[in-house]
């Protein structure tokens, strides 16, 4: 589904990713862990198509298509979703209106029918059950005045409505208390499906107690330096990232 090969990315003149490779199959849950500054967020942003991220080398294929050539909105329509580490506040744009516009834009881009407001509301009610989010947040401006936890849950709620094929969660666990963390994890687990893959970017292992990954990768200095199963995350928790650095870099990729 997703095939990243030898990806090099520069941001503001500095090389952040230095030959990253990663392959993700449908239905899989991948965790990308690593110390601060390793390039974790850069990976999420470059996959979503954020302007200002310059790919100097390497390829990214998504369902056989060259992802790097696509505009952010085309990637979204193709099924790529990034849950932001810092979701932005958009004063004056109603949350429900925003989400319906996004969903309909994606459906239209895929050649499907657009949902009218009744159909959309029905969908939203279903998804609200999955993600415990107060319905009054839907009538507020996007993320405006939301608490940190509400913003993160709103990201997961958007994911539930948009039903992407590949969801990238960029440190969705950071800043969450244990209850919010569990809710986010339940939301993610509810969306696991044979045709949907996840890349969960995280600094800590604790989210992975609730979302059990199929594969765990360690990202350090712009590359995947070690890959393993869920047990790798526990070793990292026990030994710290220094432990990885001391070892010989493992074969890149998975």
């Amino acid at each position: 589904m997703l095939k990243i090969d030898n990806l090099h990315v520069r941001v503001a003149g500095r090389e952040i990713l230095k030959g990253l490779s990663l392959a993700v199959q449908p239905g899989e849950m991948h965790a990308v862990m690593g110390p601060n500054g390793a390039g974790k967020s850069t990976l999420g942003h470059v996959l979503a198509g954020r302007p200002g991220y310059e790919v100097t080398q390497g390829t990214v294929e998504f369902d056989g298509r060259n992802l790097l050539e696509m505009a952010p909105e085309q990637r979204a329509a193709a099924g790529v979703f990034l849950a932001f580490q810092y979701p932005v506040e958009i004063p004056g744009v109603n949350n429900t209106y925003f989400l319906r516009t996004a969903l309909n834009a994606q459906r239209k881009a895929r050649g499907g029918d657009e949902l009218d407001s009744m159909q959309f509301l029905k969908l939203v009610r279903e998804k609200l059950k999955v993600m415990q989010l107060s319905p009054d947040l839907l009538n507020r401006a996007v993320n405006e005045g939301f608490s940190g936890g509400e913003k993160k849950r709103n990201e997961i709620f958007q994911m539930a409505v948009l039903e992407p094929r590949l969801a990238i969660l960029d440190e969705t666990d950071s800043g969450l208390d244990i209850d919010a963390l569990r809710q986010v994890a339940e939301g993610v687990n509810a969306l696991r499906a044979p045709d949907r893959a996840f890349v969960v970017i995280t600094h800590y292992q604790r989210l992975l107690d609730y979302i059990v990954p199929d594969r765990v990768h360690v990202l350090a200095d712009g590359r995947i330096v070690e890959s393993g199963d869920a047990g790798l995350a526990q070793q990292l928790e026990a030994h710290g990232y220094a432990w990885v650095r001391e070892r010989q870099p493992a074969e890149a990729g998975a």
Partner: protein, 439 residues
Amino acid sequence: MNAVLSPFVQSMHAAAQAARLPGSGIGWLDQARAEALRAFLGRGLPDTRNELWKYTALRTLERRAFAPADPDAATRTLDIDALAPGTRGAARIVFVNGAFRADLSRLDGLPGGVTLAPLSRELAERPEPLRFLLGSRQRDDDAFAWLNLALASDGVILRVAPGVRADPPVHVIHAGADAGGEIAWHARSLIEVGEGARLDLVEHHVGGGAQGHFADLVCEVMLHPRAGLDWTVLQHAAGAMTLLRRSDAQLHDDARLTLHALELGGRLARHEIRATLAGDRARFHGRGAFVLRDRQHGDTELLVEHRGRDTVSDAMWRGVADGRARGVFHGSITVAQGADGADANLSNKNLLLSRSAEIDTRPVLEIHADEVKAAHGATVGQLDENVLFYLRSRGIPEAAARRMLVRAFCAEALAGIEPRLRERCDALLAAVLPGEVLP
């Protein structure tokens, strides 16, 4: 007087000599008009050394000449219901190219105590009460106000008697239409809300056609003690018109003015709003947005003066410029000596959508009293790239995302408008913003 009169001034001079204005023959009025003409001719058009015209140069206007009026204004066909939806069946007064149109207006059906009439009719029937509106009592230096006084042939006279609640809203519609050539018109209006009375007023500036007409509109608003006015202005006359408007509001003790203005430009569209909080505890609440595009020039001058004690003013304006448009916002708050306890707030945020667009904003605060709370701020910026990326990452195409953000930017200033009018504002905005319309 200037040795050589500019084509503009010459054409106005000629119009004044040829005009048979309503009420002519009334001694005090003839005299006031003659004085006003002299004052205008003596001044000529303001130049950019004038603080209120600093960013709006009139050199091009000065070189143009306009025909005095549209002889066919009374018979031009215009679909007012389409230009000002929601006004059919409501109390409304319609002017086409400056001329009152009885056939398109509906002046009856108003609650008792509310009078709505064209100035031309009032001058014919009972001119005396208009002496203070049209007499030579103007004190300031505004050349266009003098010109207006000299040449105003019509306008709105709207009065609400003390204690009367005048809802539903009264609509005032000024429509421009293509004529035989480029013409000029001048309208002078009076809105008077009596003691403890309330009025809902919607002012529409529509049409405009493809011709570069010139319109000079002055509106005086008198709010007696405890009077309340909800005033919404929808200006989308746009087209090629030069539209200069001045609205002067006087607020007496405990009077309240709530103004919402959506201004969608023109070749040159200027609105000078003066709110004078003359009485104690008078309150002005102003919200406005302008959206300019192509080569439009828009100028909003908001001049608030606190004179009474414990007065409150709270103004928030939003400006958007695209293409090669030029926007100007000048927000000035003066707290006069003795206006103790004033609370004044003014904010103006602007958004540039293209590299060639420009907005100049000048907040000015002048305080001569004690125990005053005053805050003001102004910014000019671009759309936030982070927000834009967020919307696009959810599948919203870039043009639609930009559009959504501009609408949201303006919506903050228009949020307080009554819902049906707000929908109308949204539709008007949607029509002028670039990009695809999404459901």
